[in-house]
Symmetry: C2
Subunit: 137 residues, 2 copies
């Protein structure tokens, strides 16, 4: 799928001492890390997301528990389970995404390539599809 | 304590939809975010850390579960519980730190001001105290 791929990161450690996963901007993360946010205490029946970004690049992680992420690029739709802390889902520009089936106590953590800017969000699904067809992105 | 303080961050949301805590480099995080790492699956009896940094600045979070962090600046020692995802512990240069009492399923996440560099670590406690007394840091 365009602008969307699963990345497997390192797990340094062992079951004896625990694990550490390192992420570095412009190294194993394909952008400068300007913003980090995390989502927690989400009731299991609540979906989140429902938007795309014009320019923002992100990598989504599930550090505890599990969640499913629906992604759409206008041509394809996929549902990707995030269920291991060392797996990250790269979501680039113009990918509609929805997170759902949050397991109890799930923690999602997201690295983003820029600061929060409301103008970068496309929150209307019809507008998202129209923009994909105009080729002016 | 020198170079060490607890910071309370925002929680955006509600119990109905869950919470989001946003962190931005050089905004509510007092440095550029070059590196992010997270620690998980740590057996409850295993302590971690046992080092200080010459220059690195970090903010430590506990996104799930709880952990206690012992910090020392050469003059004072403190034990700080990290038990809520929106609380971060800023740990600057020359603070010896140890993490212990990891609750089961705890996830620690750390933002760091620079890439991993082994030369920046002081892993010997006596050397740490000697360096504090030499004033050449």
């Amino acid at each position: 799928m365009k602008n969307c791929r699963l990345i497997e990161f390192h797990r340094i450690g062992s079951t004896d001492v625990g694990y550490l996963t390192p992420l570095e901007g412009n190294k194993n993360i394909p952008f400068d890390i300007k913003r980090v946010y995390y989502i927690y205490d989400v009731p299991t029946e609540i979906p989140r997301g429902f938007h795309a970004h014009r320019k923002l690049e992100q990598v989504l992680f599930c550090l505890q528990g599990s969640v499913r992420v629906k992604v759409e690029d206008g041509e394809k739709t996929d549902v990707i389970p995030l269920d291991a802390p060392h797996k990250g889902l790269y979501v680039g520009p113009m990918v509609w995404h929805e997170m759902f089936d949050f397991e109890e106590n799930t923690v999602m953590m997201v690295l983003a390539s820029d600061y929060y800017e409301e103008k970068d969000y496309i929150r209307d699904y019809e507008e998202f599809n129209e923009l994909l067809n105009t080729d002016i992105i």
